[in-house]
């Protein structure tokens, strides 16, 4: 039992060392996940729980008829490696879905999707 406790303590001690390395999850987005907004947004901001690799990360947008909508390339802020911004073309009111994929700085890949609605 002492060995088990010692090994647990060893692993727990290793956690702060690896603090900048892990899977990146979506922490929040603007517009918010599942939200309905009154005005057409010019961009979608995504904030992740870990730093992401710009070369291996990106996002796409589909519209009310589930067809792909051309957007600007994802923008990454060197000062904030946990953020990705997708610039949007002029949108009509409707239901939109953002599909994102990122690779965290420790090379782990995660992906996700969320919707938002633009009110008429």
């Amino acid at each position: 039992m002492k060995r088990i406790l010692a090994l647990t303590a060893l692993l727990a001690a290793a956690l702060p060392v690896a603090q900048a390395l892990a899977h990146a999850f979506l922490d929040r987005a603007v517009p918010a996940v599942g939200s309905t907004i009154p005005a057409v947004p010019k961009q979608v901001q995504m904030f992740f729980t870990q730093g992401i690799e710009p070369s291996f990360s990106g996002a796409t947008l589909t519209g009310p008829d589930e067809r792909a909508i051309a957007t600007g390339a994802a923008i990454f802020d060197p000062q904030n490696p946990m953020q990705m911004v997708l610039t949007l073309p002029p949108l009509a009111p409707g239901h939109y879905k953002v599909h994102w994929h990122v690779v965290s700085v420790d090379t782990h890949r995660t992906e996700g999707s969320f919707s938002f609605d633009v009110r008429p």
């Binding site: 039992m1 090994l7 647990t8 999850f25 420790d106």
Partner: protein, 303 residues
């Protein structure tokens, strides 16, 4: 830790691998499946449960048992993994002195043969072995025979449901099916039947709700919690015990962080053979692929 295992760990750490995109533990498309406590996971991983502390319900014979378990899983390739597990047991039979010691050693070889990202579905087949004479046989009732159990584990998230039913999309189910083939038909005059084992975990992922369906403003620690109900049954098939079933239901919650998860569940016996009263289990589970992303946390081959 022995000098040999220290050297092995150091050797692993020294492997400076060329960066490549890694997929790890329970990710299938948008879905993250946590490592459940009772139900075998439907994915291979580099993870370790340390410890799993269990206070069992009172046995049908009045005995009380506390277990302290450990298991470690390691990917050999991105799709093939092994697991080794054992536990320290403290058994207090009714009206008799207590006994402590190791239980039966278990090993498992798994192949994650199916993965469908859009439908958040995955499955693996494997074989579990519990090894004879690896625990205290007479004092604790550890097995004096080896049992081989081919198994099928599966997982399915419901994120592919239409947006018209948003609150159902965070649901997921994992399950397992296996059959025990003991290598001795009886031990000390008691039969060792073939058993059919089946279990399920019903999960409602608050992280999935928050990140993929609707940001309802959950804060720490709730936005990383996955409430779940697990259930496990084992039904004897032959040797005079056909139809006898041991079953428990375990409601609880798992909190999943960046490097580890912590799970806590109540243990409720649902068949007479499973005992009576209530028990509980707490598990600390480490994601080795996140803690050691460039060394021990990667598959040995093929990544």
């Amino acid at each position: 830790m022995t000098s040999r295992s220290s050297a092995a760990l150091a050797a692993c750490a020294a492997l400076s691998l060329i960066p490549s995109v890694a997929q790890a533990h329970g990710f299938v498309g948008d879905r993250f499946f946590p490592a459940t406590i009772l139900t075998d996971d439907p994915f291979v991983a580099d993870e370790m449960s340390l410890p799993t502390f269990t206070v069992n319900p009172t046995g049908p014979d009045g005995s009380k048992e506390i277990d302290l378990g450990v298991d470690i899983s390691k990917r050999l390739t991105p799709d093939i993994g092994i697991t080794i597990s054992n536990q320290w047991e403290h058994l207090k039979p009714s009206g008799m002195p207590s006994a402590t010691g190791l239980g039966t050693l278990n090993t498992e070889l798994d192949w994650q043969f199916f993965k469908n990202d859009p439908h958040e579905a995955t499955a693996l087949v494997g074989i579990n072995s519990s090894w004879a004479h690896t625990g205290r046989v007479q004092a604790l009732g550890a097995d004096d025979f080896t049992t081989l159990s081919p198994l099928l584990n599966y997982g399915k998230g419901f994120g592919d449901l239409p947006d018209s039913v948003p609150w159902l999309r965070p649901f997921a189910i994992t399950g397992n099916l296996s059959v025990d083939f003991p290598t001795k038909t009886q031990s000390a005059g008691n039969p060792n039947p073939n058993n059919f084992n089946y279990g399920f975990a019903f999960e409602y992922s608050l992280p999935y709700l928050q990140q993929n369906v609707k940001d309802i403003g959950l804060g720490e620690p709730f936005k990383w919690m996955i409430p779940l109900v697990e259930m496990s049954y084992s039904t004897a098939l032959n040797r005079g015990q056909a139809g006898q079933t041991i079953g428990t239901v375990q409601p609880g919650v798992i909190w999943s962080g960046q490097y580890m998860q912590i799970g806590a569940e109540a243990i409720i016996p649902v068949t007479r053979q499973a005992g009576h009263g209530y028990g509980g289990v707490v598990q600390v589970h480490f994601y080795l692929d996140d803690i050691f992303p460039n060394s021990f946390g990667r598959p040995i081959f093929g990544d």
